[in-house]
Amino acid sequence: MKLYIKLVSASIRSRMQYKMNFVFSMVSYGIVMMIDFLMLAAILNRFNEVKGWNLYEVGILYGISSVSLSLYRTVAPEIHEFEKYMIEGEFDSLLIRPVSPLVLLLSKNLDLSRIGGALQGMIIIALSLYHISHTHSITMLLIYLPVILVCGWIISFSLALVTATIAFWTQRIKDFQTFTLYAPFNAANYPMNIYPGWLKFIFFTVIPVAFINYVPMLFLLNKGGSIYYLLLPVLVALLFFYLASAFWNFGIRFYHSTGT
């Protein structure tokens, strides 16, 4: 942990060497965030109800999915940009240290500008909760929300780790990320019952984004779920994280490196 803090602070100091760039990326990300928020509001205004879920219930799904993804993007930008380690052969320099390469990757960088995305999601959750509180009791939801967000974060990180591992064979992963991260998380902005069966199957198994928000909300918003649904996100997050790390450790054996 001490090493992690030391490495992270080194990365922030490196970033601060280019102060203008740092400020600029914060500002531009803020603008993107605003536009995204306005688009969501427009969509939410158009539909009154999506398959039994009203605006604010969908807002909660949307918020959780977007906070989960943003937290992952904040903590693990180097996992997200992993293909550069393959293409430039930079992964070598992580493997000559007496520390796990995953720890080195995570401590190499923090993308603080992504915190904006998490804040945006939080605001949407808060607004939605406020409206829902007129008709539901939200005590249970409030208590359980942190658990949900942590699980969502772990699941998105695990998905990203699996995608990054693919780079040991294919070198490039940008194309895969569309299928394993962007599209599923977009899909998880809305309730799973609007999707056809085969897609639902994927979201409940190989890319388990349904467990991030939909499953626990079935119970918490009285949509016919049982209290055991609250355990599922935790179990899925732990299992999926375990599988993703195992796959990662397996994939490292196939690292090619590059010629000099």
């Binding site: 090493l3 080194a10 052969g89 930079e90 493997l95 240290r97 796990s100 070198q171 895969f176």
Partner: protein
């Protein structure tokens, strides 16, 4: 101390095309060629040896070093370094070896050199006293004190290499893998680095494997030379054996203002004539360059003279 047994690394080369469909296809496709980057190499290196590991570009030098240090997994064969299996106990091995890649710095690019050292200090759990001793010792031999506060990106190539070498020594490893540590350096910087390596080997009993393109590195540093080409060992022996085998010729190119008739001189191995231009391959240990220059000026009036040191690529070609 370091042992390679039938070490082999082969790569599958897929003909790759851009786009998601093609990259998916190449992931599962059976169409590939197998290339042996390292082909069943075996050697045994004892404590305190200074081994030159040479060969042309793409011969498999870096790949071998990466397998010995645990970065790459061999396709077949095994390696042992300090009694440790590099693949099974990579982290344990990392505490006991130092690695320098001449082409790529291991330091934090935007931070002062000192910050990189302090991160490494935490990473290798070095105590304060040893760390202070390290800074003093390496200021004495590599003069790193002069640029400790400078960001790495602002260092000259020679300074950067000194900082990289010091960083590789911070945990006092007993084995050093150096992949082209003198590449791109000027004469003075090369001399500094060679002196440093010599001292590490002689006074500190470090075992060193060095890859290089510079024959002077080999001549001045290495007691033993392993030559590889296309992944296979071509020669494993002393510097003397290498010289006997290939002669290590120096090269002199002379352009005369007219056609000349060269004579035989002892020490000259070969003369190639192309119009009024002569390419003379000679052995510096048998005839000195000034003596040779005196000889050739008697053949005619030289318009231009160029001297070239032997190049690894050419040396290896002389094997065939």
């Amino acid at each position: 101390m370091i042992e390679a047994r039938q070490l082999t690394k082969s790569f599958k080369i897929y003909p790759s095309k851009p786009g998601i469909l093609n990259s998916m296809r190449s992931l599962f496709s059976a169409k590939y060629e197998i290339k042996h980057a390292v082909d069943s190499i075996s050697f045994k290196i004892d404590e305190g040896e200074f081994v030159g590991y040479i060969g042309p570009n793409g011969a498999g030098k870096s790949t071998t070093i990466k397998m010995l240090s645990g970065i790459l997994h061999p396709s077949s064969g095994t390696a042992t370094v300090l009694g440790i299996d590099p693949q099974k106990e990579r982290k344990e091995l990392a505490r006991n070896i130092g690695i320098v890649f001449g082409q790529r710095t291991q330091l934090w690019w935007d931070l002062p050199v000192k910050d990189s050292f302090e991160i490494l200090k935490a990473m290798y759990k070095i105590d304060e006293q040893d760390y202070r001793h390290f800074l003093k010792q390496y200021d004495d031999i590599l003069e790193i004190g002069r640029f400790l506060e400078t960001p790495v990106r602002k260092l000259s190539l020679g300074q950067r290499m000194r900082a990289d070498l010091a960083a590789a020594m911070i945990h006092n490893p007993s084995v050093l893998f150096l992949d082209e540590p003198t590449i791109g350096l000027d004469v003075v910087a090369k001399k500094n680095i060679r002196e440093f390596l010599k001292e590490m080997n002689i006074s500190h009993q470090k075992t060193i494997i060095l890859t290089t393109h510079d024959m002077d590195d080999i001549e001045q540093l290495c007691s033993r030379v392993i030559v590889i080409n296309q992944g296979k060992t071509v020669l494993d022996g002393s510097l003397e054996q290498l010289k006997n085998h290939i002669g290590l010729p120096s090269i002199l190119k002379v352009l005369y203002d007219e056609h000349v008739n060269p004579k035989n001189i002892s020490g000259v191995e070969k003369i190639e004539q192309n119009g009024s231009e002569l390419t003379i391959l000679y052995d510096r240990s048998k005839i000195t360059s000034p003596a040779l220059l005196q000889e050739i000026s008697q053949w005619g009036t030289p318009k231009d003279i160029q001297m070239k040191e032997p190049d690894i690529e050419e040396v290896i070609q002389n094997f065939y």
